[in-house]
Amino acid sequence: MSWSDLNSTLPELALAVTALILLILEVVKEPPRAQFAWTALGGIALALVLEFALPIEGQFYNGMIALDHFSRFLNVIFMITAAGAVLIAVPYLRKSLEERGEYYALLLFATIGMMFMAKAHDLTILFLGLELLSIPLYILVGFYRHRVRSNEASLKYLLLGAFSTGFFLFGIALLYGSTGATHYDAIRQAIVSDGQLSPAMTLAGFGLLLVGFAFKVALVPFHMYAPDVYEGAPTAITAFLSTGPKVAGFAAFLKVIITSFAVTTQHWWGIVWVLAALTMTVGNVTAIRQDNLKRMLAFSSVAHAGYLAVAVLVGTYDSAFGMMFYLAVYAVTTLGAFGVVALIEGEEETSLEIDGYRGLARRSPFLAAIFTLAMVSLAGFPPTAGFLGKYFVFSAAVDTGNTWNIWLVVIAILNSLISVYYYLRPVVAMYMQEPADETPLPMSRVAVPVFLVLVLIVLGFGIFPMMLVKSGVAAAGSLF
């Protein structure tokens, strides 16, 4: 190990040190503990600065970690997501008097895990990142110890997550057995040069890996845990859960497929095609029936996983770029939407039903406008960035000229039509129905930056997207 190796992981180290400081502060500080959030934000800011101070290209730790435009693009998304989750958590935790240092520390550990998933160029590092992400999340989902649903969600997530981790690890083992490598490039070389022991074993290994990824990003039929976990978890955590880990899962999925398994496409594209079509259809159709906003947004995030799976399936430069753009927009939008839900939620999980949003436009015009913007972007209306994300992903799929891909896009498009219906339901409640009581809703100012970033990205990048397009193109370029 050399200094340059260490340098390559400085942002993660900064976050880790911050997390440890937070754990110590938790023991020595008396409440109220507003400083925790600011300490965590300071750590994230430091990591962000270090991320940009690093040499940009290259492989470190014997090639196990790769630093490029791809990892940087995603790390910025992760850090924005983490910062947003911290800001949303401040008023949310205060409401239920659960403001504790572990919360922020665990959040930072999970963020480190995501960053390693994006930087990984070796299946073992990927696995480490995945575990570093998952274990804090199991705890965070059950953070409200006194709530039965939070506990249930945590246990469910832990058990199913452990299963999927088992699949994932077994897949890595099989791949190592057949190709003699865990390094992404080495695996590809082994497959290309036919130096593998058994092609069947390679495919079996890849299949198990696929299951692991499908679980992490909640593709149907591996999505069963998602609605319950999203609903049971504290809303501030749901905001994080439905964005960061999903982005990390998809990023790693895309990178592994493009760098290692692109040559075996003909063996698995049918499976991914079916997964994508099923995921978007089941996600959208089920979301229509949901009256609880957390569940509705959970199914919506399942549906978006289906759209993103299209990008993985297509696997071209353009589709990889489309996915980068989509992920950035999706993360910020979903985080903001859950942020609004978290702020409006009353003590003891009230006001989570769509009916509870009646007349919100009068009680809190700002939150109603932000939530509407998020819904409109998730539904993919122009001129929001959500539309551009869909445009880039789907046009890349059609551009392959493959009939199956075109049909998949038609399915996706019809699905977005379904999604319009349920995304507009809260908008109807907020603007077109009368409130039960007219009292203005008190709002914490802390979370406002999250919403401003949302406006900036959704509308700003919806109309002037070039900045995001350029970095997305560079990020996708690193994969090829």
């Binding site: 409109v376 209306f381 122009p382 001129p383 539309f387 445009y391 880039f392 789907f394 046009s395 799929a397 059609v398 551009d399 000229g401 075109i406 896009v409 038609v410 498009i413 019809l414 977005s416 039509l417 319009v420 219906y421 507009l424 109807v428 603007y431 077109m432 997207p465 070039m466 397009v469 350029k470 193109v473």
Partner: protein, 525 residues
């Protein structure tokens, strides 16, 4: 000044949004100021668009073209420009919007700020649709109209507004999303043939597409436009949306939004997929004619005035589609003029229905009678607008219908004959409406003293209502008596469109009749 001339079109498109931004900064309580800003913005927009109309030189090339790279990696640019066809619709939009805003002074009294913002954003999107020369930009504007209209119906609408607004959005989205897939495919074809990505309309029209590709793409585009027109049997969203929308919403919907479909057929379906258009012409003509008759028959039996006018729209827009797909110089010109006419006269009918509704809070025809005695001026205006809508010579409706029917006789004789029946039917249902509402014994509930205890219950047109109606009446007469300035500007574009269409389709089985039509068109020039 040069700079202004070069960016005039962009200025017109985005000025309403700037006005909306200013209104957003005001407080809801500053209602008078909000209204004045909205009206002022739309009037300035109209004045600017008049300079475009004046400066427009007759010719088939696009004018006032502006191009700025937008997402160059994918060949997407901000490109706008207008030809004769879009010029007229741009003018219609900038003309109707101030009138709509003025009518909203009376019709909308709750949440004025939000309403004006939605209306002005709508204007930007509508102008953008007509001016866009980049198919990506076109789609952005096309979809951007949906959300403000959704709010206009859903927030300020009638009792059943939630159902009507979501139905409107879902119907329109269904079409436009499939069109989006076709746009992807077109973009991909462009990349394959030109070897670079582009979404520029002018470059995409040069592509040679295989018949199979054309068929699919045509169907996807045509579905979207057919829903918007609306062509029978895709019209079911329209009566609901019209009845539930507030008066200004109905006016915008009828006068401008419904023109998007016809414009889309002309601008995209015909030039991009001429061979497929030939193949589907019989089907679309049949649907148009069915729409003419069906809409008229439905209008005849409606007990609700607004619904009657809504169904008359279905009928009148059938004429427009017939004119477009009859594909002769006269019929297409007539179709375009008829789009403008319909915008004026049906818009005016909705305004008039709205005015009487504000006084009596009922739209049921059975509740009225003898109104001519109580509100003579209102009755006179209503009659003029009705006659214009029927197509009385000397008023605007005649010009359009005449051109459409004359033009269609060459290419679609059977359809033209059936369409004439539609004209007669429209005279029946509209005059019958006038008869039931304005003549006969005054209904008891209508006469007497108003709620305030002062003055009659049904005051005649107020000065503000005159201000709303007079410009429309003026245009109705100008277009009816002297349509030449308008026809002159659209003719070159239409000639090019019709000729390229017949030429593009000629090798695929030309017969003598087609050649004669081409010659005839040249002769008419």
């Amino acid at each position: 000044m040069d700079w202004l001339a070069q960016h005039l079109l962009t200025l017109i498109i985005f000025l309403p949004t700037v006005g909306a931004g200013v209104i957003l900064l005001l407080r809801e309580a500053q209602r008078g100021l909000i209204r004045r800003v909205a009206l002022g913005t739309s009037l300035v927009t109209f004045v600017l668009s008049y300079f475009i109309f004046k400066g427009f030189e007759a010719g088939d090339a696009f004018q006032y073209v502006e191009q700025v790279p937008w997402i160059p990696n994918f060949g997407i640019s901000y490109q706008v420009g207008i030809d004769g066809i879009s010029l007229l619709l741009v003018m219609l939009t900038t003309f109707i919007t101030p009138i709509t805003i003025l009518s909203a002074f009376n019709a909308v009294r709750q949440r004025v700020k939000g309403f004006m913002v939605a209306l002005l954003v709508m204007e930007t999107a509508m102008l953008g649709v007509f001016a866009a020369l980049d198919i990506f930009l076109f789609y952005i504007f096309w979809e951007a109209m949906l959300i403000p209209m959704y709010f206009i119906i859903g927030v300020w609408g009638g009792e059943n507004r939630l159902y009507a607004s979501i139905k409107f959005v879902l119907f329109t989205m269904l079409g436009s999303l499939l069109m989006l897939v076709a746009i992807f495919a077109l973009y991909s074809q462009g990349n394959a043939q030109l070897e670079y990505y582009t979404t520029s309309y002018l470059e995409l029209t040069t592509l040679k597409l295989s018949p199979m590709t054309q068929t699919w793409m045509f169907l996807a585009f045509a579905l979207s436009f057919a829903i918007k027109v609306p062509l029978f049997p895709f019209h079911t969203w329209l009566p609901d949306a019209h009845v539930e929308a507030p008066t200004p919403g109905s006016v915008i919907l009828a006068a401008i939004l419904l023109k998007m479909g016809g414009y889309g057929f002309l601008r995209y379906c015909l030039p991009l997929f001429p061979e497929a258009a030939v193949r589907f012409t019989p089907l679309i003509v049949v649907l148009a004619v069915v729409g003419i008759i069906y809409g008229a028959l439905m209008a005849m039996v409606q007990p609700d005035m607004k619904k009657l006018v809504a169904y008359s729209s279905v009928s009148h827009l059938g004429f427009v589609v017939l004119g477009i797909f009859a594909l002769s110089l006269q019929s297409v010109s007539g179709g375009i003029i008829q789009m403008v006419n319909h915008g004026l006269s049906t818009g005016a009918l909705f305004l008039l229905v709205g005015m009487i509704y504000e006084r009596t809070h009922t739209r049921q025809i059975a509740d009225y009678g003898g109104l001519a005695g109580l509100m003579p001026r209102y009755a006179a205006v209503f009659l003029i607008v009705t006659l214009a809508s029927i197509g009385l010579p000397g008023l605007n409706g005649f010009v359009g219908e005449f051109l459409i029917i004359v033009g269609s006789f060459n290419t679609q004789p059977v359809a033209a004959i059936v369409a004439v029946v539609g004209v007669i039917l429209s005279a029946i249902y509209l005059l019958w409406l006038v008869h039931r509402v304005f003549f006969g014994q005054p209904a008891v509930a209508l006469s007497g003293i108003g709620e305030t205890g002062k003055g009659p219950k049904l005051p005649d047109l107020t000065s503000r209502e005159w201000a709303v109606m007079l410009p429309v009446l003026g245009m109705v007469i100008i277009l009816g008596v002297y349509p030449q300035p308008f026809l002159k500007r659209i003719e070159p574009s239409v000639t090019t469109l019709v000729n390229t269409y017949w030429q593009a389709t000629a090798p695929a089985g030309i017969d003598q009749a087609d050649v004669e039509i081409i010659d005839e068109n040249k002769g008419n020039k």
